[in-house]
Symmetry: C2
Amino acid sequence: MLNYSTSEENYIKAIYHLQKEGTVTTNELAAELSTRPASVTDMMKKLRTKKLVHYEAYKGFRLTPEGRKLALIIIRRHRLWEFFLAEKLKFSWDEVHAVAEDLEHVSSKKLIDKLDEFLGFPRYDPHGDPIPDANGKIETSKQVCLIDLPLNKAAVVCYVSDQSTEMLELLSHKKIGIGTRLEIKKKFSFDQSLEIKLRQQSATTISGDLAKNIFVKYDE
Amino acid sequence: MLNYSTSEENYIKAIYHLQKEGTVTTNELAAELSTRPASVTDMMKKLRTKKLVHYEAYKGFRLTPEGRKLALIIIRRHRLWEFFLAEKLKFSWDEVHAVAEDLEHVSSKKLIDKLDEFLGFPRYDPHGDPIPDANGKIETSKQVCLIDLPLNKAAVVCYVSDQSTEMLELLSHKKIGIGTRLEIKKKFSFDQSLEIKLRQQSATTISGDLAKNIFVKYDE
DNA sequence: GTTTTAATTTAGATTTGCCTAAAAAAATAT
DNA sequence: ATATTTTTTTAGGCAAATCTAAATTAAAAC
């Protein structure tokens, strides 16, 4: 297994988290990593030569199978350390992430596999996110209807059941499509309408009828 | 507490290990870190501006009090991780060092103090070296006569009891002085003479009479 | 379908940590 | 005391990862 820099690993992880469905854009990634778009372009060229991302100028990027494999290794490290910090060192729920951000870059596979064993092969980290196993298998969060999505839980649109022209026109007007990340800010029981917020945009309202046809997966 | 790069930390740690008595030279440090003398000079200038080392061109370097404090923090991290790896993750004696070299650069003080507590405040790492406490206090190894030094245990000359001209002449001829690092390769019971190896030099033999007057501390 | 705006990429600079080769200083030997 | 050898420093460069500013391409608006 090759070795990657902390910076490369952070990019790969960020792409994995943003990707889900569809492609990731330069600006999205720059925002996620608190860096500049120009830096992202530079790194994408490098990761492309390392065959970790698919990338063509102006067309966004996606992880290759190898890139995804690497992402899952890093996420496995991160979540196992989070579990360790919370369970064994009694860190509080909200402190574990920052420390795990550093620990996740220590790359010994043996270390992580032995840590996993020591911890009793936990399946979820302290935030409830699933931990990939030693082979990189991760429990995929099941698809849920937008109607049933809890408040303020980040999710990604993954399927639309009614694909009529009218429906698609409405969705496109609201800038919602496969891969759109959103969360529900308010639910109105009167008509089942929802106030939702799209990532990096202001809030909008959608009807219960529309929501019933949209399916999402939990984002991470 | 300020934050230092992995590279800076490795230099500080290496100086601490080499220092013991007297000053550290450019070539010694370059050898210890598998780098080039020119790189050492570059880094010494930087660490000087950060007030971690005393350094004047051509005169070698020593840690400042702040530098020593930092060194002990890094050594504390390293040895606690070694203990964790051996004790909890069942790594074997000889595997712990390499992994701890990476883990030691994760700089959260809270992490290390909680790890210390989790491990039950161990006093020695798996190699028997003392672990500095949360305040940077470390057990100083007691002085032992060279006659009593175990085979192959690295040690540093710290005192010479007979300081006659004849004695000093002999020592200077053998290139032994305060701060000289050495280890015993063979002991001859017949006359108590010792075959010793000075760091970075070939082996030489010294008589029992000489060895009785030389005192060393264990090196780390 | 232009034009305007926004996103992305290129070009060129900066910082860190390292390198080689050459110069300078110190140590050693004659 | 001078010459030789060794050590150390300087000078100049390189690669990684970042940045700003300018140019280019794509998307949006009119």
